[in-house]
Symmetry: C2
Subunit: 226 residues, 2 copies
Amino acid sequence: MNKCDQCIVRQLSSLKALNKDEVVKLANSKTTYKIKKGDAIFEEGEVTNGVFCIKDGVGKLSKLSANGKDQIVKLVQAGELLGQRSMISNEPANLSAKAVADMEVCFIPKSEILHFFNNNNQFSMNLMQSVCEDLKESENDKIALVQKTVKQRLAETLLHLHDTFGENEDKTLKVQLTREELAGIIGTATESCIRLLSDFNKLDLIELVGKKIMLKNIKALKKMAE
Amino acid sequence: MNKCDQCIVRQLSSLKALNKDEVVKLANSKTTYKIKKGDAIFEEGEVTNGVFCIKDGVGKLSKLSANGKDQIVKLVQAGELLGQRSMISNEPANLSAKAVADMEVCFIPKSEILHFFNNNNQFSMNLMQSVCEDLKESENDKIALVQKTVKQRLAETLLHLHDTFGENEDKTLKVQLTREELAGIIGTATESCIRLLSDFNKLDLIELVGKKIMLKNIKALKKMAE
DNA sequence: AATATAATATGATAATTATCATAACTGGAA
DNA sequence: TTCCAGTTATGATAATTATCATATTATATT
């Protein structure tokens, strides 16, 4: 009985195309790590030489700007692979990957992935599609950044977080981001983000439960985001 | 003697990995089109069922917003492939492709590309790397949109156009974009773009030769863009 | 060449968003 | 508990950018 076989990453990512033998090979070459909230999996400019499977937790891909702000490019969750792009491009990481919630990840060496890529057409197609999906999302984000106001982007992002990560028993968003991180996703100043959350609260679109956020009027948020 | 063999796209794109037999197959399945400046190669939402090789000219990938503005995601030139992403993702095009200068393109059916993808590891790796390159660029653009001012983005874009497309004998930029298109690339209002070009002109960073633009102080533009 | 149409230019103003300042709250460490 | 550091909150103001109005210039069409 090998551990990769039942792993959520095996079920959700490109790795689902691997056959029994390949999964065994995978299990033998992987290394498992635990990453504490706030810690980095890899930093911008580092050569990673492989990909990371996210078994548990939530991570963010971000880039630090000259003025010290951290622009978040993407949030990643259990089941996803990390570091595919720089591995394929043979380049140092363009972004840093840090844990937003405690994470458990496995590292798979590049040689292993390339072997699968060259010998398993379904795997290479899956990997390709996953990068294409990222590209589409990135392009759409880019367009939203230009064509939408900060208010619209906040509404959109709250809905997206709700869709992607779900809610706790108390109906608050499951991913717990700081206001600064949220601002980093929508691309605005932390104060602006806080201010708009206050506004949304007053308009009964959301409710602020301490630092947590509960979506109260999803319909109105959708209308605002469109 | 077959025509694809000497084609610039064959030399520059993922297609460089194809062997003689594959190029013959390619030549037999392709269709050639001429696209007039301003006309579309494909529109957002269309199912393309293949990729387009750009033999000559310049194109733009863009998305129309609700308020009627055309946000340009990427410019493409001779030697590049178009429509890879939606073909791989099995989705209608996310963006429209239109000619910025008269173009000559060849259409390669999806079945052909998939056959190469599954049978030629170097080709699939090249294709993958090309999508990864697009992803990296898109992510960096996204960050620039948030972290840089319109002025910085204009400087950056002018330099990028200069690098990528070169200059005419009179030193003006070779790609001739309207101010509206330029605004669509940097993500701002046309008037703002025009105003800043005026400012740059007064500061002797550029010179406006009718509708054409000549970069006069590249060093200063670089400093401004940083 | 004359006219129409579109592109470029510039001014005035409004809206959006960032920045700086400071206060209130929160969660953890001693 | 009490204090401290970090986060959240809000006000005041400045900077950036969009919008609307209107010239001016270029390009195309008859």
